[in-house]
Amino acid sequence: MVQIVVYALLAVAIIIPVLVGVAYLTYAERRVLAAMQMRKGPNVVGPFGLLQPIADGVKLLGKETIIPAGADMVLFIGAPILTFFLALSAWAVIPFDAKLVLADINVGILYLFAISSLGVYGIIIAGWASNSKYSFLGSLRSAAQMVSYEVSIGLVMITVLLCVGSLNLGKIIEAQREGWFVFRLFAPDGWAVGVPLLFPMAVVFFISALAETNRHPFDLPEGESELVGGFNTEYSSMSFALFFLGEYANMILLSAMTSILFLGGWLPPHDSVAFVPGFIWFALKIAAVLFVFLWVRAALPRYRYDQLMRIGWKFFLPVSLVWVVVVAAWQLFLMGPPA
């Protein structure tokens, strides 16, 4: 009984920083975009506009919840709850520091992959339950997009796992002590120079992460120029807020996954700065990846749907599939399998 209470408190201790992170990610997004477009962005509510997310949240919760007459009530309300629940439940296995992890399970990376592959249900159920053409088209697009890019994300994870030899997230981070996987030069014995074997996979992973979170330039599921608002056209008030929070929590989650797989998670960049706690490095790395998410939004126009499907299936899938074979062969014939 005591154990359950302790776990509940630990879960709250993870969820609250995530939610605060989500709130300030929306603020950061508006400020960064504004800076890149030479505007000011939100700067009125509180110092530097820092209270803006709170004001927005309160405004959103004060709105009336509208449920369309033809909607499937249970599923319509359940979909945003599911999205939000999944976005938070993935954080259970994320290691924030050497010993700082709620559930240190053996199959951590598979758990993350499973949870992120479930994210599509919230959207597809929302689109169907809304009983609206725009929502349904948005959700179909989203389902096709997320299923397509999951394939390459899975294969990229396999290349990393081949270099680590474990599915445990802590071990994946520990394996990067000699160098983060994104820049690591894999040099077999006797070779003067190594090869950045995983760098291309880091790029593929990041681009797939953009598609998986329905972010720009792959935000076709809610392409407002064609679909009004996509899958969340019919949502308002709290149910919309849950979608919104879930989407941004997913962005933070995929940034965390990128830092765990390729940027060394909580490891400091150099031993000389090891006195700074690991979770601060982890947060900084997540913030750096998130900044690129926002930067991409400011810099690139939206893709056409056939182009999106084309790079997913005809470019990322073959490239990552070949790379799995290349990394496996490299490990087996040149470096010996990981310990």
Binding site: V107, F113, Y121, I124, W128, A143, V147
Partner: protein, 205 residues
């Protein structure tokens, strides 16, 4: 004790959800109950210490197969009256299949002790995690069934593509390299239009 309680929770929800799959009026609800089934089955796997299988079940069945399933069911235009018309006609066949499955499960339950003996032929190495244990036998002892299973899936995929691929003639194909290599000078022409005179070719030269 909590493990037993959780087992009964998962098992009860699993069976109730399975019942709802076949009794739900709306096919989309049926698929969603099927997904709930998969989830509880994954939960049972975790309770048995087979966390690798549990994750694969969620990733493959829930994350991929059921999504496509839901995708198709949502887009079907199902007429329930029509669907129920054949119910009585197909009842004997359905009952037969159900009975055969029930008898098979019964036989397996009766012979459970000998089944345990059969499973003991490939003891799981205690020192390995269960992902490693599966890998160690899947790619050595059972490599042939594994490869054959892959081949069967490939044949099914090729078959599905053959059945649906047809040349419809006037299909507009996107040639991305042509699109990307298009020069500004190929598509845009800027003309000065003198006030009050216009241009003779209507700008379409």
């Amino acid at each position: 004790m909590p493990a037993t309680l959780i087992f009964y929770l998962f098992a009860t929800v699993l069976i109730l959800a399975a019942l709802m799959v076949i009794s739900a009026r709306n096919p989309v609800h049926a698929v969603l109950f099927l997904i709930l089934c998969f989830f509880n089955a994954a939960g049972l796997f975790v309770l048995q210490g087979a966390e690798f299988l549990a994750m694969l079940l969620v990733i493959v069945y829930v994350g991929a197969v059921a999504v496509l399933f839901l995708f198709v069911v949502m887009m079907l235009d199902i007429d329930f009256k029509q669907l129920r018309q054949g119910f009585v006609r197909y009842l004997p066949l359905g009952a037969l299949v159900g009975a055969v499955l029930l008898i098979e499960i019964g036989m397996m339950a009766v012979h459970w002790p000998t089944m345990a003996g059969a499973a003991a032929q490939t003891p799981a190495p205690a020192a390995l995690g269960n992902a490693e244990a599966i890998g160690a036998v899947l790619y050595t002892k059972y490599w042939l069934p594994f490869q054959v299973a892959g081949l069967v899936l490939l044949v099914a995929m090729v078959g599905a593509i053959c059945l649906t691929l047809r040349d419809r003639g006037q299909v507009v194909r996107q040639n991305v390299s042509v699109q990307m290599n298009r020069k500004r000078s190929d598509v845009i022409e800027i003309k000065k239009v003198p006030t009050g005179q216009g241009i003779s070719d209507g700008g379409m030269a």
